[in-house]
Symmetry: C2
Subunit: 219 residues, 2 copies
DNA sequence: GTTTAATCGATAAAATTTTACCCTTTTAGA
DNA sequence: TCTAAAAGGGTAAAATTTTATCGATTAAAC
């Protein structure tokens, strides 16, 4: 009944292609063409879509509008959530300035930092607020999501504080695995993880082409 | 023989904990304590480690130094690769300024952008270079890895150019699935993907606690 | 020295995810 | 109208990944 995590991870890509197709004036899209765009297996796309309960029409495909709405809904991106950022360093600043979150139902509404030098400065459209004002801000604005972009050494302390203030979802960019109570959800996003996969694949690829090179020498 | 992708994705976390333990003066670490730190299953950790060929000692665990070296080697992080960034926007700038890449064998050596306003400006320790100078730079410095941080609409064009210049590995931050020849490796890193998982988990969690609330009402 | 408890390692089972197969539906064209 | 081709959908198989089980090993405590 519940949707597999790998499927959920593919959903944002589907949305992206769907939007593209819609902008191109199309009304229907087949699993096959979705798959082609994304380099996926069409059967897998169909299976992913089937988990939303949406049905397609043979020879035509799926109704783009309907599919978009369902996926958006499954992801909970149809209701915008306010979120705040803790940590006004490079990454925090970049995220604060990034304007693409709106399309996935996330609205950054404030940026916090503990450094006296940063408090009061401007990042994009935000004025950096102090950690002392965090609790009140969360409660007055009923914030349930926080983005952590502080150094690893401070991440757990910040996390604990956020949890105490009532935050329920944490998007953690610090390279640190946070301990939270069962009622709180943490998702860690780690550049290193992604780069590890690139490294290994590239290493393998380079080794292959070296092999080819030596094969060629033997001709 | 080849290491599963999920295992590779966990390797950077292992390295992080290993470093931490080493700094704490420890010489050995058990799969169990690694697992505890990361919220993983100890059996899984042992299995992951076994794919490196390293053997541990019962009752003691694994030699931290040895394990670190092997994992680093498997990831190819023992040889530093020079890389360049294309796209000096928010994200590109943040990445250029980020100093944590060194620990995973990645050294950003230049930043490129096509915008005349940005060329010549300074980002961290880099002076933004023009796209015209890209080809020459790649060849003179034998760069094989590029980071793409341009908008989605330009990503494929930039990618094609990079491939033509001889780039073999592309770390793509643009929300766009790039088509590359078979000899090139692309890894896409997407904030939306990560956030999707958080959204769904959080939605489920919030629904659960709503259920509990209503249950309590019934008492 | 013996016992105990922690841990490893190998193999097997379970769970999850991806892929294959085959049949049905529907549109477009002969 | 009939036929062909392009999907979709359901079920089952295959592949991958995670978890369990159990015996073997080893340092530390007694």
């Amino acid at each position: 009944m519940s949707i597999p995590i790998p499927t959920i991870k593919r959903f944002p890509s589907y949305l992206r292609i769907l939007n593209q197709a819609k902008e191109g004036g199309r009304k229907y899209i087949s699993a096959t063409s979705l798959a082609n765009e994304l380099g996926l297996n069409p059967i897998q796309v169909r299976k992913d879509i089937s988990s939303t309960g949406i049905e397609g029409k043979p020879k035509i495909g799926f109704d783009i509008e309907e599919l978009t709405q369902y996926i958006t809904h499954v992801l909970g991106w149809d209701n915008t959530s306010d979120a705040l950022i803790v940590g006004a360093g490079n990454l925090g600043s970049a995220i604060a300035r990034y304007d693409g979150f709106a399309s996935y139902g996330l609205k950054i509404v404030a940026v916090f930092d503990k450094s006296a030098e940063k408090i009061g400065t401007t990042i994009g459209s935000f004025t950096v607020k102090s950690m002392e004002s965090l609790n009140r801000f969360i409660n007055e604005n009923r914030i349930s999501i926080a983005v952590i972009t502080v150094p690893a050494s401070q991440a757990q302390a910040v996390c604990d504080l956020l949890v105490k203030c009532g935050i329920r979802g944490i998007w953690n960019f610090a390279p640190k695995d946070l301990k939270v109570p069962e009622s709180v959800v943490v998702q860690r996003t780690d550049l290193a993880t992604s780069f590890a996969v690139l490294s290994v694949k590239l290493g393998k690829k380079l080794a292959e082409s070296d092999d080819l090179d030596s094969d060629e020498d033997m001709i």
